[in-house]
């Protein structure tokens, strides 16, 4: 089980968190103007990387804030956490 540093609360156990899938997928501002394929790209397509992955996490049993995490999925090493809206660190 990971130890995760919530950007708002500090170091907490993984059981307090919920994983929320790939990060930095922005909901299209004008969905109606998208083709079926373009909408499907947003709706369904997700990466599943062995290695460095950018993902969303939610401190659901804590401050309930969403934030982003950079994690190496091959060894579960957490490289960085940062708040929603912040620029992803270059890793």
């Amino acid at each position: 089980m990971f130890l995760i540093i919530c950007p708002y609360c500090g170091e907490r156990e993984q059981s307090e968190f919920k994983a929320g899938g790939e990060a930095h997928i922005v909901r299209p501002k004008q969905p109606t103007e998208l083709s079926d394929d373009e909408w499907a790209e947003y709706l369904f397509m997700r990466k599943n990387i062995k290695g460095i992955q950018f993902e969303r996490w939610n401190h659901i049993h804590g401050c309930r804030k969403w934030f982003n995490m950079v994690r190496d999925t091959s060894n579960d090493e957490i490289k960085a956490v940062y708040k929603m809206g912040e620029k992803p660190p270059s890793i």
Partner: protein, 1001 residues
């Protein structure tokens, strides 16, 4: 047979306390301090079980948790019975009863033993190959397999013991309290670290604590007395916690470990009452020091599994620690110096050694010289080629090894014996290290895997790191820990060590025989009966990956996870396939290291604590009034209230009728309630619901449907505008938490610019729903000042009211189709308010109803239940609820998905009403719907989602989803059941009061 093989007193055994126990029904005696294995051996009993496949007689093989053979059933037929207990680990207590497993009818005469003679037709993969075909025979095979195989019996009665979970946080966790662990503990504790030292045994000191040979000295003291003093010292540290009988089961990432602490398993049953049996420790350590030691390897030769064949180190343990001789005519067989340590221990105790067989040709060491000085014959360059003795080894035959070790030469020599100790060198116990994600490297010189890279802040020390000798351990630990713990001084500078161990080893994974390999039984995995021949067969059949060979031959798949033989399996594979050991990798070591009981895993989460449940504040009233409850999520909801022994059907019919004829009352407190405030609250609702919210005036309520981004219905409920920037949203009971989570997600990540605040108030308000034609009369009795006229208080509107001094929110909304009022009140007032409603409704026969009646009433009106009439594949259009989807709004969650090529298809499953030809026939929910019974294969068009007998319409009604159902109005369809077909007609899903006259009555 009954002999006493107890030798000189051991200080670890309390010979003043004699303990009686039973094994396979017969009474024996041992002493306090004995394990079941040592006590049996003292009684000259080796045969304790049968192997899994061939049912070969098997004896005690080891003295520890790696034991593959001596697994027994404890306390058979009692509620405390436990299968697969290792006799080498369980400490005996007065009254212990153990029995052999895996043998039927008895360990001495076992019918499954016939498999042994059939073994030429039972090769690797036999079960896979044979019992797969023909499929219809499986039941017959299964009967015999179940009867003659299987590892022990599960208890059939509830577990009477108490288990618990405990969290531990420490600076340094040390796993294993052998000499390395004890040294590490002293260094860590002395430097002020909060330290936890655990060991699976009942004593500290590992194998060094009984190493009393003059050959091994530390600072000029015999190694065990030196260690004893160290142990006495570390016991004094206040910042060091020591836990014995504690086995680490799992080593997860981020230094999170699970360990099982055994508290009462060594006590007589009558002393265990009210005590916690086992504790699951959840340990989070800043740093972990693994000092788990190493396991001695057996040797792989023909018939290497007979009772009386043990690991050489186990024979030494039994002699030194328990004062027990494993035999009277002992032979040792080795490829390294370890067996000579055993030899020295044995002759020190006066135990006879017939001979030592050493694979090594030219070898010389102080230990060997000393052995030979004592007139023990050493056969150098020899190997054992076969053994005999069915229930106990009685003879071995040996031959000379060729120079390359691939063949045997010369004449066979026979040696009689009743015990054979084998030593194939040592395997570092890297199981926990690899569980944590650590990567191994292969050390060619002595053919061992040792830790290479650490995935977390941890280190391996001592023999689990490949440092096998006393001088390697003592010289490496201080420097390693200085770096690891970032400290300046250890207490172990300049220690003098005397350790005459010669590290040479002649490693031959599969020893040659004078027989063809096809005729040999050289066991690699004792518990699962996998032989070297099986592994070679698997390779011939094309298996290459170690993981595949493992599964095909079942090597390493027993309760011991192949702790003894895995290395040999790898060695034989690499030799046969011509690959390099280091490149082949190992199989994955998975938790737990040793088996855990279910009791330990669940801890206190049993019985009423198995899962949390939630009660409404009115719960007590329901209980008092004979409600039956149903689980809705975590909630206990009133299901129905049977009167005078009514059946559920009768109760629901009565409740439903009362609600429509006069008045019903429902506890709706479980509905999710989310308080929404902020200047952008209306805009927010516009984006999350399919319909429009901008024009909802203050004091009005509106029903909303919430979709997922994929266009599928997610939740529904009524939201009320309390003031300009203040709404209260209701959600389904089950959806409350996830809806809040979803809304927060959008607010925080997609629309952070919106000024909206969400608060869950589900628990803060209770909701009492009064419905029926007389509901207005009843509620107005309680709130006499309010104008209940349709003009002042129409359907779908809200009023702030006061009942006495208590503020309430009163909504006129309906889920039943009847005139209906919902009173929302601060939770702690709700029970008394409910009672007031009952009192006021008495003259109108107000009838409490539960969820079943609620479901029936709403089905009459064709109102959906999200999750019952929908799954995650229904759009609002599929539900024939087009009216609720705003055409004007530019965007809302899921809008774009409503006109994807898939969602606009005409032949999607759509919600319809279903009426049975026979109005008394009630459909089964979940039943399939078809059109043509003669078509092959029959085409499934959909299924029934809700079905009831309506007492108000006096007929059966149902909702269902049917492919293309929207355009099937009036069409006849069929519900095929097990022994009949039911004819139905597709109907409008609104069965009652389509004009909504009742709502506005």
């Amino acid at each position: 047979m009954s002999k006493n093989l107890r030798t000189k007193t051991s200080k670890f055994i309390d010979e003043t306390t004699r303990i009686s126990f039973r094994f396979d029904g017969k009474k024996y005696f041992g002493f306090r301090g004995d394990t079941l294995a040592s006590a049996l051996l003292a009684n000259n009993i080796h045969l304790v079980g049968r192997s899994f496949k061939y049912h070969r007689p098997r004896g005690i093989m080891t003295a520890g948790s790696e034991e593959p053979n001596a697994i027994v059933q404890l306390n058979n037929n009692s509620s405390r019975t436990e299968p697969n207990v290792r006799a080498t680990e369980i400490e005996i207590y007065e009254g212990l009863e153990a029995s052999s497993q895996n043998c039927w009818p008895s360990v001495k005469f076992d019918i499954g033993g016939i498999n042994n003679f059939l073994s030429p037709i039972l090769p690797a993969g036999f079960y896979y190959k044979t019992f797969m075909w023909p499929a219809s025979f499986w039941e017959k095979y299964e009967y015999f397999i179940r009867k003659s195989a299987g590892l022990g019996k599960s208890p059939t009665k509830p577990d009477p013991d108490i288990y618990e979970h405990k969290y531990i946080h420490c600076d340094v966790l040390i796993i294993g309290a052998g000499i390395s662990g004890v040294m590490a503990a002293k260094i860590a504790a002395k430097n002020g670290f909060k330290t936890l030292l655990v060991d699976e045994k009942s004593y500290l000191g590992g194998s060094t604590i009984y190493q009393n040979s003059e050959n091994f000295k530390i600072n000029n003291q015999v190694s065990n007395s030196w260690l004893e003093k160290e142990i006495n010292e570390i016991k004094k540290f206040k910042n060091l916690e020591i836990k014995t009988r504690t086995s680490v089961a799992a080593f997860h990432g981020y230094n999170y470990l699970l360990a099982r602490e055994n508290l009462t398993d060594h006590l007589p049953l009558d002393q265990r009452k009210d005590k916690t049996r086992q504790r699951l420790l959840k340990i989070r350590a800043k740093k972990v020091i693994t000092a788990t030691g190493s396991l001695e390897r057996p040797l792989i030769f023909d018939n290497n599994d007979r009772p009386g064949i043990l690991l050489s180190s186990a024979i030494k343990t039994y002699a030194n620690l328990y004062g027990v001789a494993c035999g009277e005519k002992n032979v040792l067989f080795t490829n390294n110096d370890s067996a000579y340590e055993t030899a020295i221990s044995l002759y020190q105790k006066g135990i006879n050694i017939e001979a030592i067989i050493d694979n090594r040709e030219e070898v010389d060491s102080k230990l060997i010289k000393e052995t030979e000085k004592n007139n023990i014959k050493v056969y150098k360059g020899y190997t054992v080629v076969n053994t005999s003795g069915y229930k106990r080894i009685n003879k071995i035959s040996i031959m000379q090894l060729s120079k390359d070790g691939q063949k045997v030469t010369g004449n066979k020599i026979f040696i009689e014996c009743d015990c054979l100790g084998v030593s194939g060198g040592w395997t570092p116990a890297v199981h926990l290290f690899t569980q944590s994600g650590g990567k191994l490297k292969f050390r060619d010189e002595d053919q061992v895997f040792i830790p290479k890279t650490y995935p977390s802040d941890q280190i391996s020390i001592g023999s689990c790191n490949g440092d096998f000798t006393l001088d390697e351990i003592l010289s490496s630990i201080p420097n390693k820990l200085k770096v690891f713990l970032n400290i300046k001084h250890t207490v172990y500078e300049n220690i003098e060590v005397q350790s005459p161990f010669n590290k040479s080893k002649r490693n031959i994974w599969l020893l040659p025989s004078d027989k063809n390999i096809g005729k040999t039984k050289s066991f690699v995995d004792y518990q699962n009966d996998a032989t070297a021949k099986d592994i070679k067969l698997a390779l011939r059949e094309g298996f290459r990956s170690i993981e595949h060979v493992k599964r095909y031959t079942t090597t390493g798949m027993g309760t011991d996870q192949g702790k003894l033989g895995n290395m040999h399996a790898l060695g034989i594979i690499s030799e046969t396939a011509g690959s390099k050991m280091g490149e082949l990798g190992t199989t994955t070591f998975r938790p737990p290291y040793t088996p855990l009981t279910f009791g330990t895993i669940v801890g206190r989460n049993v019985g009423e604590y198995f899962d949390v449940f939630r009660k409404t504040p009115i719960h007590e009233w329901h209980v008092k009034n004979n409600a039956k409850f149903e689980n809705v999520g975590q909630w206990k909801r009133s299901w129905y209230y049977p009167k005078n022994g009514e059946s559920m059907h009768d109760a629901v019919q009565r409740e439903s009728k009362a609600a429509r004829d006069s008045a019903g009352i429902l506890d709706a407190s479980t509905l999710g309630k989310i308080d929404i405030q902020g200047t952008d609250a209306s805009e927010f609702l516009n984006r999350v619901y399919t319909n429009s919210w901008s024009k909802l005036s203050i004091g009005k309520c509106r029903y909303g449907l919430m979709l997922n981004e994929d266009g599928m219905v997610y939740d529904d409920g009524v939201t009320t505008r309390l003031s300009e920037n203040h709404y209260i949203m209701t959600t389904t009971t089950g959806g409350a938490a996830t809806v809040l989570g979803k809304l927060e997600d959008y607010l925080q990540t997609e629309w952070p610019e919106l000024d909206v605040y969400l608060t869950s108030v589900t628990d803060h308000y209770a909701t009492i729903s009064v419905c029926g034609p007389n509901s207005r009369k009843i509620v107005s009795k309680i709130i006499p000042d309010l104008d209940f006229s349709d003009e002042s208080f129409p359907h779908m509107s809200f009023k702030n009211v006061k009942i006495g001094k208590i503020k309430c929110r009163l909504m006129r909304i309906s889920f039943t189709g009847e005139l209906s009022y919902e009173i929302n009140v601060q939770a702690n007032y709700s029970k008394s308010l409910w009672e007031r409603c009952m009192e006021a409704g008495k003259e109108f026969n107000i009838t409490p109803y539960g969820t079943e009646t609620m479901h029936l009433l709403r089905a009459e009106k064709g109102f959906i239940i999200v999750g019952q009439d929908t799954d995650a594949t229904m759009t609002p259009i599929d539900l024939q609820m087009d009216w609720i989807v705003s055409k004007k709004k530019y965007d809302f969650i899921g809008k774009r998905s409503l006109y994807r090529s898939d969602t606009i298809k005409e032949d999607r499953k759509q919600l319809v009403g279903l009426l049975t030809e026979n109005p008394e026939e009630i459909l089964e929910e979940g039943a399939q719907i078809i059109a043509d019974i003669n078509k092959s294969p029959i085409e499934m068009l959909g299924h029934v989602t809700s079905s009831y007998y309506s007492p108000n319409l006096k007929k059966s009604i149902a909702l269902g989803v049917v492919r293309g159902g929207k355009n099937m109005m009036g069409q006849k369809l069929i519900i095929p059941m097990e022994n009949k077909q039911i004819n139905v007609t597709v109907a409008d899903p609104v069965f009652l009061d389509k004009e909504n006259k009742r709502l506005n009555a």
